[in-house]
Amino acid sequence: MLRIDEGSLRHWLIRVLGVVVVAFIVVWVPTQMSSSRIGQFTDAFILMIAAMSLNLVLGFTGQISIGHSAFFGIGGYTAAILIKDHGWSPGYTFYAAAVVAFVVGCVVALPALRIRGIYLALVTLAVAVLFPTLVRWKKLAWLTDGSKGIDSVRYEDVPVWPILGELKGREGRAVFMFWLGLIVVVVTYLVCRGIVKSRFGRALVAIRDNETAAAVMGVNLTTTKVLVFGVSAALCSLGGVLSTLKSGVITPDGQYVTLLGSIVFLLVMIVGGAGTLWGPIVGGLVYVWLDSTTRDIGTNDSGILGALFGWADQSPATLILGLVLVVIMFAAPYGLVGLAKRLGRKIVVIVPRPVGSSTSR
């Protein structure tokens, strides 16, 4: 076991190595892979954003929400309506969606001030179920186009960005969406990180661990919960905007807009590691990878998997995916990031500086 002092040269080298590896993967994917693979990474980005937003509320603050699919949908619809009906340039719809979702998120937080646990889960469940119904409602058809949804909301022409140069056709669009998605992931991550590593973030965890004690320490439970719900909803809506821009359509039963979306966000967060900054990122990658691999397996009936799942009439993809996720949760109850931390500590231990004013820089 290697012991490394916090802030020492070796500690910095490890950090730099981490950044280099991530940067390498990030550049390698859009330049070396097929456009359908690149698209899968963008799908993972979308899930990462939604799961990171949910993580703020559930992972760090301990407030259950099964309503995040509604915030995701609000993002998608805000973008679609502004682009189609008002001729907005797609880039600006991110800001508008965030503002709308922030307000809705603050309102949804109000029940969280009074109720907890399973009851809060039920209220947010209602929000998730209500959203598609509301969007389908005849009286709102002028805005949302009912069950048909809104289509062709893509970028007319992909903007030209420095470094990337001009991107053309299907492939170019995939590469552009990758970089756009990556930017939103990085922004979301930085927002979450800023929050978590601050006085406000410590208050969130304090609320999760012991509400009464948090209040006695001076934490205003009301404003803290309302604000964190609002910002979480705003971040989640960014994922919705991205998803709509990528696929070009949004419908009331579109991907992640229904209750199923909330369940997937929950899974991604838990599999990756709830209450950790990197959990949703790892979870998003693993989920999309498992999803696409199991889908391929399902189509052929030979071999072990055919013998195991041949009895199923339809493709066993979802079944296998579900089983694998359950196994991961058993093997890593604190998520993959939790598992990695535990294993990593057996190899390298970062020794923190002694605490107190005399030892600090």
């Binding site: 927002v191 601050s198 965890v205 304090a206 661990d209 209040a215 002694p354 605490v355 600090s360």
Partner: protein, 274 residues
């Protein structure tokens, strides 16, 4: 004498005191009922600035309930509480820390997933100002973190917990966590510290040591202390004044010697043990 006038009444009582000592906390006729149970029954007492006041009484006397009233966890059914002349019952629970009131809990109310250092840093919540927007924009957040981390680390060192700073609170021995509660309460730089049975679960020598710790922090931090304790020797040794309770009522008040020799107090304890 009943003090019904809230803030105004307190000012009057300040003017009337001969010694010129301003009572820091004044509890008047406080009654708390839980359904049929009367946990506090018209309780009145006051604590002078800078004093250590012991609050004793048999189990179920209402001592913890008193703490919960002062820290605004329970709303009393009747009565007033004023702190430095201010109506405490008009302050929300999260405003108490900002007024300079901190407490420890009888049955521990720590943040188990956090490290000891983080627990103490949350204790300093009222000493910081970075909210969500400033955290996102990173305006002054790093500097505040450094300041609060150093301050919290110093407190851990003072209470002999520095070597455990980065260990999660969950699973540590009860006595250690009791001390952590004191460090966390001190992090708020309180004027007034309420300690609910800080010596519970400690050995005899540790209890003596804790008594010295309380005396030391009273001096170092310029504190007024309200101390609930069943270890009579410690209460009597360090308190300037003792209030004895039974069934939610005050049965005796005075210097440690007066209270110790009060027949009502002796009867209450013998009755409780019988």
């Amino acid at each position: 004498m009943a003090n019904l006038g809230g803030a105004a009444g307190t000012i009057e009582s300040v003017n009337n005191t001969d010694s010129g000592n301003v009572p820091l906390l004044e509890v008047s006729d406080v009654t708390v009922r839980f359904g049929g149970i009367i946990a506090l029954d018209g309780l009145s007492f006051s604590i002078d600035q800078g004093a250590i006041c012991g609050l004793i009484g048999p189990n179920g006397a209402g001592k913890t309930t008193m703490f919960n009233v002062v820290s605004r966890i329970y709303d009393p059914n009747e009565g007033t509480v004023s702190f430095q002349g201010r109506d405490l019952l008009a302050v929300p629970a999260h405003g108490i820390a900002h007024l300079g009131i901190a407490r420890t809990f009888q049955n521990l109310a720590l943040f188990p997933t956090m490290t000891l250092l983080e627990n103490v840093m949350v204790g300093a919540h009222s000493q910081g100002s970075v909210g969500m927007w400033r955290a996102i924009a990173r305006i002054g957040a790093a500097r505040e973190n450094r300041r609060i981390r150093d301050w919290s680390g110093d407190l851990l060192n003072q209470l002999g917990l520095g070597h455990l700073a980065h260990v999660p609170a969950a699973g540590l021995p009860f006595g250690t966590l009791k001390r952590l509660e004191i460090a966390r309460a001190l992090a708020a730089r309180p004027r007034f510290l309420l300690m609910d049975e800080p010596a519970a679960g400690l050995t005899h020598s540790e209890v003596d040591e804790l008594g010295d710790v309380v005396l030391r922090i009273r001096g170092d931090f310029d504190l007024t202390v309200l101390l609930v304790e069943h270890h009579m020797s410690m209460v009597m040794r360090i308190s300037d004044k003792v209030v004895a309770m039974e069934f939610g009522r005050k049965i005796s008040e005075g210097t440690p010697d007066q209270v110790r020799n009060d027949p009502k107090v002796i009867a209450a304890y013998l009755g409780a043990e019988a």
